[in-house]
């Protein structure tokens, strides 16, 4: 019996959300008096996988098949199921990412497991009872869910647990083969197109986000958002109407019908704070709102606010961040 953690890698490195998941899985293993093994997907270096020891992982299984570099639902599902079988995993932990949700839902049927996505806290385990807290109603509520299956799969929301780093500990990396055949790659992508990321920070993974709304008036003013984001090492985002009129690309739109983010810091500039926008950002740890309208609904959801003109306030903030370092 063990805990199996699914680790997503990109460009050789383990993704930040997977470091969180590895920490989560190790802590669950501790609660159950067992160890946590990881299975890695995507492109990873041996050194980056060994470093998962810092998150409490004892062993990492890695299949170096080159076609696994990009996400392939069929092959990933088979690989992880084989690892779960080998390790006799009763609990599987993955990130609540597009990969985690796609594979987790297939695995739950294949392994006969209970599945909880959007998990925000460590489980409560007492005897046979296994309860997890998850976000519901687009961030407007939380639900305690009882997982009744003998096996459990948990998809953990980003930034809901802090990755631990126990310096010097290393995991043992073992090569692993799930005997994948061509048929397992039937849904392999024909092409993968990566988007340009402002400042190189990926929005769904970001720890800090600077976001602009219709109050920014036009795309020609976005340098103000980008400059602050760059100074902070943040990703950039926008409200829906902004992407609808193509001031910004669709993949930057956050909210109920866009991306859901939960960074430590969300700075909203010239965004009114409509309920559908809040649905995508309200689980951010600290929310800062800059709006010239003191009645803007976003101030009700904010921790810090400035009632003022974005064109005046943003350069001052960027300047202040630059003075910090």
């Amino acid at each position: 019996m063990s805990v199996l953690v699914v680790v997503e890698c990109d460009g050789g490195e383990v993704k930040k959300s997977s470091l969180e998941v590895a920490t989560y899985g190790s802590q669950v293993a501790q609660m159950l008096g067992t160890t946590a093994t990881a299975v890695a997907v995507g492109e990873a270096t041996e050194a980056s996988l060994a470093q998962l020891g810092e998150q409490g992982i004892s062993k990492v299984l890695y299949d170096a098949e080159p076609r696994l570099k990009d996400f392939v639902n069929g092959a990933y599902t088979k690989l992880i199921a084989a690892a779960a079988q080998q390790e006799d995993a009763k609990v599987l932990v993955l990130a609540n990412s597009n990969i985690g949700a796609a594979v987790g839902s297939r695995l739950s049927v294949r392994l006969g497991a209970s599945l909880a996505t959007n998990v925000v806290e460590l489980p409560q385990i007492s005897g046979d009872q296994f309860v997890v807290k998850r976000g519901a109603f687009s961030g407007k509520a939380l639900a305690n869910v009882v997982l009744t299956g003998e096996r459990k799969i948990l998809a953990v929301k980003k930034n809901s647990i802090e990755a631990q780093h126990e310096a010097g500990k290393t995991a043992q990396v073992q090569s692993f083969s799930a005997q994948l055949t061509d048929a397992d790659f039937a849904d392999a992508p024909k092409q993968v197109v990566m988007q340009e990321q402002a400042g190189g920070v990926l929005l769904p993974e970001a720890d800090k986000v600077v976001s602009g709304g219709r109050g920014m008036k036009g795309p020609e003013n976005w340098h103000l958002i980008e400059e602050l984001a760059k100074a902070l090492g943040a990703a950039t985002a926008c409200s829906k109407p902004v992407s609808d009129v193509d001031w910004r690309p669709h993949h930057e739109h956050v909210g109920q019908t866009g991306i859901t983010v939960s960074p430590n810091l969300y700075i909203a500039c010239g965004i009114s704070g409509a309920i559908q926008h809040l649905a995508g950002v309200n689980s951010s740890k600290v929310i800062v709102v800059i709006n010239k309208d003191p009645e803007a609904p976003f101030f009700k959801a904010a921790d810090y606010g400035i009632v003022g003109d974005v064109f005046d306030v943003l350069p001052k903030l960027t300047q202040a961040v630059k003075e910090l370092s």
Binding site: N98, V109, F137, N264
Partner: protein, 246 residues
């Protein structure tokens, strides 16, 4: 091409969320229910593809009790041909996935579409479960869907980019924007929807694998701390020293 579009019945996006006094159920009193916004992308795209092909059918499927019928009729008014309601309270994603898989198999549907997730339970699970139950590919979440005979080309969102995926029918896809511009019913649609067939069937399958023990509201914010615009730089100091986020 036979399309099966799964819709769920969810509280309107602007609903203030409350629960029954024991916190075990969502409090439906006075709440307006709508078709899950993500499902509208699936529905509209299926209708567009049927129209473009000049043949085929679009069936909507809902797992829900009789009170979901107004939204099923709305889907028919938007342009679906017929509807099936599985007469059951949708207890968890696995339970719902079993109903969908059963009907998809019995009806021999080629393309099964649904929204990326429901805005109430936010499961993001049903698509993969249905694909696995039927042993067919799932593409989730899809931002674009084109059909050429039995071959579909989809754009699937990945963190930081997209994958272009080609699959053969039958397949499952969960949809999100910018797939299409969701349609709203017109007068003629509303009139004809009344006479379109809506079949009610009983549920099948095994028991659910999860149960909600209790709901809660997130902890309340303490209230906003306002910083005068003239001294905006002070905000950065507070974010570092007080909030410790930079």
């Amino acid at each position: 091409m036979k399309f099966l579009v799964c819709i769920s019945n969810v509280p309107d996006t602007t609903t203030k969320i409350t629960f029954t006094p024991d916190n075990k159920e969502f409090n439906k009193a006075g709440v307006q229910f709508v078709i899950n916004p993500w499902d509208e992308y699936a529905l509209t795209r299926a209708i567009e593809l049927k129209e473009a092909a000049g043949s085929g059918t679009v069936t909507v499927l809902n797992v829900g009790e009789a009170d979901t019928e107004p939204n099923i009729r709305k889907a028919l008014a938007i342009g679906a041909d017929d509807a099936i309601r599985v007469n059951a309270h949708p207890r968890d994603a696995f339970f719902v996935a079993q109903q969908i898989a059963h009907i998809a198999k019995e009806g021999g549907y080629d393309v099964i579409l649904m929204g990326k997730e429901s805005i109430d339970y936010n499961g993001f699970q049903v698509h993969g479960m249905v694909g696995e139950l039927l042993g067919i590919p799932t593409v989730a979440p899809a931002m674009k869907l084109d059909m050429n005979g039995n071959t579909a080309t989809l754009e699937r969102e990945i963190e930081g980019g997209k994958e272009i995926v080609e699959v053969q029918t039958p397949f499952v896809a969960s949809c999100q924007q910018p797939m299409c511009e969701p349609r709203i019913p017109n007068m003629r649609g509303i009139m004809t929807a009344r006479t379109k067939p809506l079949k009610v069937v009983e549920p099948v399958g095994d028991a659910p694998r999860t149960a909600v023990a209790e709901y809660a509201l997130p902890p309340k914010k303490e209230g906003v701390k306002l910083i005068p615009a003239e001294s905006a730089g002070e905000l950065i100091r507070l974010l570092r020293q007080e909030a410790k986020v930079i």
